[in-house]
């Protein structure tokens, strides 16, 4: 009896110690997740002398807005925001409408082409044409240098279709039958019954699509040549990776004279590129996790 008590006591102390170590470890992880952003933010607001001597850590030192001034003078950040928003809106609307339409039809049990079309869509999940054939297609369609080249290929996704379908299947088929008896057409059933019941799913996929477009640079690199049409990520790429060759005349001179730090201009651009995402994140993160869980369980 005494022995088991001792053992239980030992486990209790071990548990407590483990809990403490675990919490410290997790807090450390949180610092690792967040600190890079904080560092970028404070450097972007700090003065050149503080940055070069490595004194900027958690907070800006010798606070100034010079980097942002230079950045917004040299690049039309607002236009890049506008471009990205237009592309994101178009992609997301098409994405939500087209995917759920396809998914609804594939869910209808009596639809006669259900099997073959499902297979046709499934295949696209596993095989792709690759970079060059897709590029040639875009070229042949005359979509080079057009936003449609970024919008249309991303408008339909097999993965999303199957998730919608799985979700729609979970809605009782009796509701659909009843609506049909009342004289509702298929489109009405989808827009009036199925879509409102799947609001969470629509929200999740909408957000995924917006974030996906916001973060996409590669397709713009391939297809968009005009500087006026570039999305925000391409501007960032230009500022960071070809800084010395950009035509930022004044900025170059200022950097040369030690009045401005190159790093802080680059960081200012990073902040400009992530700020919208970080601002909406706290409000939408619960949808993200929910959507991912739907994918994990049913996908």
């Amino acid at each position: 009896m005494d022995k088991t008590k001792k053992r239980k006591n030992k486990i209790y102390i071990g548990n407590k110690a483990f809990d403490v170590v675990l919490i410290i470890f997790m807090l450390l992880m949180c610092v690792i997740f967040l600190y890079p952003f904080l560092n970028v933010l404070s450097v972007s607001f700090s003065s050149n002398s503080m940055i070069t001597t490595g004194q900027v850590t958690f907070f800006p030192r010798e606070f100034n807005l010079e980097s942002y001034k230079v950045l917004f003078d040299a690049e039309n950040i607002l236009r890049a925001y506008g471009n990205t928003i237009v592309i994101a809106a178009a992609t997301t609307i098409l994405n939500l409408v087209l995917n759920s339409l396809v998914a609804y039809v594939l869910m209808v049990p009596e639809f006669c082409l259900k099997k073959p079309l499902s297979i046709i869509i499934l295949i696209t999940m596993f095989f792709t044409g690759g970079t060059v054939p897709t590029y040639l297609l875009i070229q042949n369609l005359g979509l080079l240098n057009s936003w449609w080249a970024l919008i249309l290929p991303n408008a339909v996704s097999a993965y999303n279709i199957f998730l919608y379908k799985a979700f729609f299947k979970g809605i009782s088929p009796e509701i659909r039958e009843a609506a049909k008896i009342d004289g509702a057409g298929e489109l009405t059933i989808l827009t009036r019954i199925y879509a409102p019941l799947s609001k969470a799913l629509y929200a999740t996929f909408g957000l995924f699509s917006v974030v996906g477009v916001w973060n996409n640079y590669y397709e713009a690199l391939l297809y968009i040549k005009d500087a006026d049409k570039q999305p925000i990520q391409m501007i960032l790429r230009k500022i960071v990776f070809s800084f010395t060759t950009t035509s930022m005349g004044d900025a170059q001179a200022m950097i040369g004279h030690g009045k401005l730090n190159q790093l802080s201009v680059q960081y200012a651009c990073i902040i400009a590129a992530i700020l919208p995402i970080l601002c909406i994140y706290p409000f939408v993160q619960k949808y993200f996790a929910q959507g991912m869980q739907v994918g994990a369980v049913k996908g």
């Binding site: 071990g14 483990f18 470890f25 997740f33 054939p133 993200f288």
Partner: protein
């Protein structure tokens, strides 16, 4: 409208066997067909036409003649032969494998360990907060990640501040390829550890709590509970994720490598995908580039099927198909 759909429903019951009425059924279900058409068309245009375009890896593609009109190569596998005769070929393949294996070695187990540890955290609020914070890196674009790596690796950047703190000299980490793997894999783990743990955490929350009650009565310690309750619960998810990861091993995140390359390290960092981009898009050797891409896709397929076969032989229940 109502009458039509009612008829469609009743006719589909009758039309189960005779083949002649298939078109009649289709005609009755034309509303459904119309609803599906725009999505299906986009899918066929943007997914299937490029698949057909793979044919150019066996052809001498001329844009004026199109995919079908271009002449077949002689010998048919000329592009593949050219690739394997390229002096750099094995270097590129080796780089691809190295990046893929190193990435998987760390990004695959990290979310599992993180999920198991997070599952041990007491307090629902605490757990939720850590989770929420850990997802943030996932939503950061690859350009931002590479820009940050570029900045942190510069002589006045964060990485060098840390180096100095530990008494090491400041070096330009963007120069050359010494720090490439560390930065590439490290940032990949940073980005995926939280988000990747979601699937495992949802498997862990489905565990029957009575299992834990029984373990407590038996006097099991934390480690024994993790080993005998939590771990078995996530094994099926782990295997599925493993198969999916192996399929991605040659698909190094090349958009990231493309950004991390500079003049000092380009030759050391070339992987198959950057080679495809360089030859195809930059130099305009469409057929050759497509052939190299096809080669890597085929290897991917073999890897996925191979892994699945091994798993099916050892434990049939966990295999993907």
């Amino acid at each position: 409208m109502g009458k039509k759909s009612k008829k469609a429903a009743s006719s589909s019951v009758i039309a189960a066997s005779p083949k002649t009425s298939f078109w009649k059924t289709l005609c009755k279900q034309r509303t459904l067909l119309l609803m599906l058409l725009p999505g299906l068309l986009l899918l066929i245009i943007f997914k299937y036409v490029p698949m057909y375009g793979i044919l150019i890896s066996f052809k001498n593609y001329k844009s004026s003649k199109g995919v079908w009109g271009s002449a077949w190569l002689d010998p048919l596998f000329k592009n593949f032969i050219t690739f394997f005769k390229n002096v750099n070929c094995w270097n590129i393949i080796w780089n691809t494998v190295k990046v893929g294996v190193m990435t998987m070695l760390f990004t695959f187990p990290a979310p599992i360990i993180f999920a198991l540890l997070l599952n041990e955290v007491r307090g629902k609020y605490m757990k939720k907060s850590i989770q929420t914070i850990s997802y943030i890196p996932h939503f950061i674009s690859i350009v931002v990640i590479c820009s940050m790596l570029n900045g942190f690796g510069s002589t006045t950047g964060l990485f060098n501040d840390i180096r100095e703190f530990f008494g090491m000299a400041r070096v330009d980490m963007n120069n050359g390829s010494t720090y490439f793997m560390l930065e590439y894999v490290g940032s990949a783990v940073w980005q995926t550890i939280g988000w990747g743990s979601i699937v495992y955490l949802s498997a862990l929350t489905n565990i029957d709590t009575s299992l834990y009650d029984v373990a407590n009565i038996d006097g099991a310690n934390r480690w024994q509970k993790v080993k005998n309750i939590a771990w078995p619960a996530i094994v099926p998810t782990t295997t599925v994720m493993l198969i999916m990861n192996v399929g991605q091993i040659l698909n190094a995140d090349f958009t990231k490598i493309l950004l991390m390359q500079n003049d000092t390290n380009r030759s050391q960092l070339d992987v198959i995908a950057t080679f495809v981009y360089q030859k195809g898009i930059v130099e305009g050797k469409f057929s050759y580039s497509t052939a190299v891409n096809l080669f890597s896709s085929i290897v991917c397929c073999i890897l996925v099927f191979g892994t699945n076969m091994i798993i099916r032989k050892t434990n049939p229940e966990n295999s993907l198909w």
